[in-house]
Symmetry: C2
Subunit: 335 residues, 2 copies
DNA sequence: GAGTTTTATCGACACGCGTCGACAAGTAGT
DNA sequence: ACTACTTGTCGACGCGTGTCGATAAAACTC
């Protein structure tokens, strides 16, 4: 592999000039720069990663902390990872996946100090999240996908819950649905309640009746939810789901009981990653979760922060778009 | 962050002695080593990553090439990533996710040469895979999850197709199923045919009738498959599925047509990642795909290779285990 | 006990880059 | 014409580690 010195020789300049020509930290005559770039291309030169990190103290590597649950990384994480990884690459950074237990939190700091890592992306943020507190104390730059109860000035990317629910509700309203139920996992006050309270608000605006059905993140729970729904709200015509896996179970339940989707019952899913949509039949109408974009945005925000562009926006909310597929239709005339 | 020099001073030895004490490349008096380790612990010293890479030419970083399909990283990839990442960490390595287009293949080589990457893990291996050819030519160490038609001495981890299908078939046999269908995506000769031909063999051994139903990797295709199955093979009592997503559609179809699972029809899925199981109702009986272990094994094989432990086994086949859940029961008495 | 090998340690250097200070040449202001 | 900047370039140094050669001490050999 070519080194800086070789490029310098070929271009007839000094080694440091090559550096400046490439990084643009000092003014360089345009003609010289061109000569350098030509030499770079000719030799297929690429700055040595380790040397750069050593000399400059910048590793250009981001860590994505993934709380490894029972099944490891959560499904949705895939698209975050994809987005974050692609955006990082576009800016000359790398993304390493860091399956983390809580016990390993201290390790992150050590690695950050050892130059391995420039910043951290966190997912599955809790209302109160000790990881956030820790990283702040340790002065490791970080960005969240999701947000804590009071994010303050911390960097984050999150869903625009209000926008997303309104997209779904307004669409159901336009189809004539007036009595709906919604599936949610929220138990106590926490991250999940952001969605359900936004939904209640949106429904109220449209003068809909919206009843809550509690689920957990399992297909079987979705099926139970259908049974509950079927019994308690026989005259309801639509369901909004805030949990992707339960949705699939819910549809199974409907199939099982002979309730036709979308003729008898419409379903809109609000928090379903792209990859899950292909797994349902009929294909789900969703307000899609722009997970790829969220991951990408998280990377960009984090890199801005690392590079000290403090003027830049470091918080973002993304709503997603309504994508009409096969689980919604006009409300059947109410009984 | 503490440096090697500080550790040396505290331990009362030279800097190089610290190196040798930690890396064990030269003999060190046991007492000295202990003193060094104590100092290391005391200062919470961790060798600077970049410096190590620069001096030693070893970056201790693995790249996992993920062919970014339509939806980015494939679902199953998650567990591979988890496993590979965890195993890498245990051996002091890092795993970066590399969303790759074919066009970027050359980039990998450059990065490998620039010291950024020590080796590559490949997934979604094709029978003929140009990436494999490229990496071999470029002399970048690599390991495959899956394998090419003729892997030769290349490192790989793959499923034990024969073992996995036999587990599934033998179980169905023990339940009295004698006429089965199987869902598969194989069209031409390729990776997918490994599974179906193993299945045909296993069925023959048990004197079962096994009919093939062609699907593609979509839920709707699985539903179509059910309809085909229902019409063509009304007296068949079991289905083996080799495609996870189609399986879910197949079950939807069964629900829709009032065919009760497992009473009327048993289903065994052979290639279903853990994360998909939770999405079906009833819960799927599977021969589980040990994806985490496969990822971990791939890391370990690759690291062995990078560190030149050539004596070690560099190919492995994993069968998985039969996990009985809710989609299998004794065969209904045949008509 | 002289010669030889082994063990344990040290000092020095190289890896390739970022960046600071120096300096020559050019430009602007008076 | 003198000073005061600015622009463009270079040489030198340091980042923290791996590792080679040298050396002193210890352990064998006959």
């Amino acid at each position: 592999m070519a080194t800086r010195a070789e490029v310098a020789k070929l271009a007839g300049v000094s080694a440091s000039t090559v550096s400046y020509a490439l990084n643009g930290d000092r003014s360089i005559k345009e003609e010289t720069r061109k000569r350098v770039l030509k030499a770079v291309a000719q030799l297929n030169y690429r700055p040595n990663f380790a040397a750069g990190a050593l000399a400059g103290g910048k590793s250009k590597t981001l860590a994505l902390l993934s709380p490894s649950g029972e099944f490891g990384i959560a499904l949705i994480a895939l698209e975050y990872i994809n987005g974050a990884s692609a955006a990082a690459r576009d800016r000359g950074y790398h993304l390493v996946i860091w399956p983390s237990q809580e016990s390993e939190l201290a390790e992150i700091q050590t690695f950050a100090e050892s130059g391995m890592i420039s910043g951290v992306i966190l997912m599955e943020i809790q209302f109160k999240d000790e990881r956030v507190d820790y990283l702040k104390k340790a002065k490791v730059p970080f960005a969240m996908i999701g947000r804590t109860e009071k994010p303050g000035k911390d960097s984050y990317v999150d869903r625009d819950f209000i926008g997303a629910t309104e997209l779904g509700i307004d669409y159901l309203d336009s189809l004539g649905h007036k009595k709906i139920a919604f599936l949610t996992t929220d138990r106590a006050v926490g991250v999940d309640t952001r969605f359900s309270s936004a939904l209640v608000e949106a429904a109220k605006k449209k003068k809909m009746i919206a009843k809550k059905i509690q689920v957990v993140n399992e297909a079987s729970s979705g099926r139970d939810a259908f049974i509950e729904f079927h019994k308690k709200y026989p005259d309801f015509t639509a369901v909004v789901s805030l949990n992707d896996i339960a949705t699939l179970g819910f549809i199974s339940g409907a199939n099982e009981y002979g309730v036709k989707i979308p003729k008898d019952l419409s379903i809109v899913a609000l928090d379903t990653p792209q990859n899950h949509i292909e797994m349902s039949w009929p294909p789900l109408t969703t307000v899609n979760l722009p997970a790829f974009e969220m991951g990408a945005k998280a990377s960009n925000i984090l890199i801005d922060q690392i590079e000290q562009r403090e003027n830049k926006q470091n918080q973002a909310l993304l709503a997603g778009e309504l994508v009409i597929r096969g689980t919604t239709a006009k409300a059947r005339k109410s009984i």
